[in-house]
């Protein structure tokens, strides 16, 4: 339990639907078994791209701020929004820079590429190896549980409303079997020209 990835707890999941993507996280922040906060979101938005970060909370904050800086610089330099694919490579290279002293985070990216109109999700290990997935990406202390629920509930080409139901059930039921995750959730449903953010109450224990 002294793994830096499991001190604060937390879970994140992203899914692909039909012309839409979803990303969701829990809200718990803990110190081992002690819950410190029930309002610690782990999803951050960078224009059209959404980044979920689980792992060591201090690194979650640091890394999310680092990418706020990097993406803002990109926007100023290039006078355009960063695409999910470019963001994925930026995250990968940034994490690998710290190959021998890594940030203890497991990032997840979700977004729609506005040039191609195609949904995009991917995940990373803490040193930047990208996992391009066509279906779903999970991360955090409830990742085993999420693998089980996602593999069981997900199906291809879900419409936004069904995708919301699927990702929400996958996350809620997964975190209910993980003592380090839970206490409510944030769910983003990303469509081409609309993003819907919903707050799930969930079990408060």
């Amino acid at each position: 339990m002294s793994s830096p990835f499991a001190i604060n707890g937390g879970a994140c999941v992203a899914m692909v639907g039909k012309d839409c993507v979803a990303i969701a996280c829990d809200l718990r922040l803990g110190l081992q078994s002690l819950t410190v906060s029930n309002n610690f979101p782990k999803i951050f938005s960078y224009g059209d791209v959404y980044l979920g970060l689980t792992g060591l909370a201090t690194d979650v904050s640091t890394v999310s701020d680092l990418f706020r800086f990097k993406v803002n610089m990109y926007r100023l330099r290039e006078e355009r929004q960063i695409s999910p694919q470019t963001m994925a490579n930026l995250v990968s290279t940034s994490l690998y820079e710290k190959r021998f002293g890594p940030y203890f985070v497991s990032p997840v990216i979700a977004g729609i590429n506005h040039t191609t109109g195609k949904p995009f999700i991917c995940g990373f290990d803490s040193i930047g190896c990208i996992d391009f997935a066509k279906d779903f990406i999970v991360s955090g202390t409830a990742s085993d549980q999420l693998f089980g629920t996602c593999e069981g509930l997900w199906e291809p080409d879900l419409e936004p409303d069904d995708l919301f139901e699927t990702i929400s059930q996958a996350l809620l039921n997964a975190v209910d079997r993980d003592a380090l995750s839970g206490w409510g959730a944030h769910v983003y449903i990303i469509e081409k020209d609309k993003v819907t953010k919903r707050l799930l109450k969930g079990r408060q224990d």
């Binding site: 089980g148 629920t149 593999e151 809620l172 209910d176 079997r177």
Partner: protein, 265 residues
């Protein structure tokens, strides 16, 4: 001579012999020997009850480390039946964890259940058998059977009964339970699909006022489908699960055995 040795500190302070230490072979050096009595043979099991039946399932893969020992090593057993065919059994048991302990436990419970019948002239009830299994496990409290057991059958009212255990005999009657390597993957899926956890009836309120969807006992067909889905999902994401799915379905008409192939990669 003294000065000669004194000029060489290694020779002076560390002579190559000793009167106080036991002789040893420096080439072979000291060896540490250890015996590890347990191995994890992977795999997963799962039990679900319905109104008048009980299903216990398990994959048939046996592993040690990254190797596959065999693709067909059953983890679910009939208890108290005929030696060869299992005919006449009225209790089902699954064991997952250390396969040798699993076999030993199954053999022992089987013998005890039979002895009970010979001595009492009646079949043991599932409830009694469940308690007896806990005693067996606790009896080895300080050198446990390294297994997670699930016991199933029909209770006095003919309803499906399922008992789940930890390796030292702590047990509980439940509607459904997953155990073994992929338990963490399967269990939340079961919470959701069997007990309808986190499901609410639309339009019954806002937030915590929402009415939870009531969990009703599922029909056998639905349960079998859920078990298959649970195992195909677990096979997809867990390397220790796969090859085959064995299901024992206990109804008032006896025990039926089903087998479905799973991915072998």
């Amino acid at each position: 001579m003294d000065s000669l040795l004194g000029s060489n500190p290694t020779l002076a302070s560390n002579p190559a012999y000793s009167f106080s230490k036991a002789p040893y072979n420096s080439a072979a050096d000291n060896k540490e020997h250890a015996f590890y009595p347990y191995t994890d043979n992977g795999g997963s099991t799962l039990g679900i009850t319905g109104e008048d039946f009980c299903i216990i399932a398990g994959d048939t893969r046996s592993t040690s480390g990254y190797s596959i020992n065999t693709r067909y090593s059953p983890k679910v057993f009939r208890i108290g039946g005929d030696d060869e065919t299992g005919e006449g059994a009225h209790i089902i048991l699954s064991v997952v964890g250390f396969a040798a302990d699993g076999t030993a436990l199954k053999e022992r419970l089987n013998a005890i259940v039979k002895m009970y019948k010979y001595q009492h002239g009646k079949k043991i009830s599932v409830k009694a058998c469940a308690q007896r299994l806990a005693t067996i496990l606790y009896g080895k409290r300080f050198f446990p059977y390294y297994v997670t057991a699930i016991l199933g059958g029909l209770d006095e009212d003919g309803k499906g009964a399922l008992y789940s255990y930890d390796p030292v005999g702590s047990y509980e009657r439940e509607q459904c339970r997953a155990a073994g390597a992929a338990a963490s993957l399967i269990m939340p899926f079961l919470d959701n699909q069997v007990n309808y956890k986190n499901q609410y009836l639309p339009g019954t309120g806002e937030g915590h006022d929402l009415e939870p969807r009531q969990a009703l006992p599922l029909p056998r067909h639905d349960v079998e489908q859920l078990v298959r889905d649970a195992f195909t999902s677990a096979t997809e994401r867990h390397i220790e699960v796969g090859d085959g799915l064995q299901m024992l379905v206990m109804t008032k008409n006896g025990i039926e055995e089903l087998y479905h192939p799973l991915k072998r990669d």
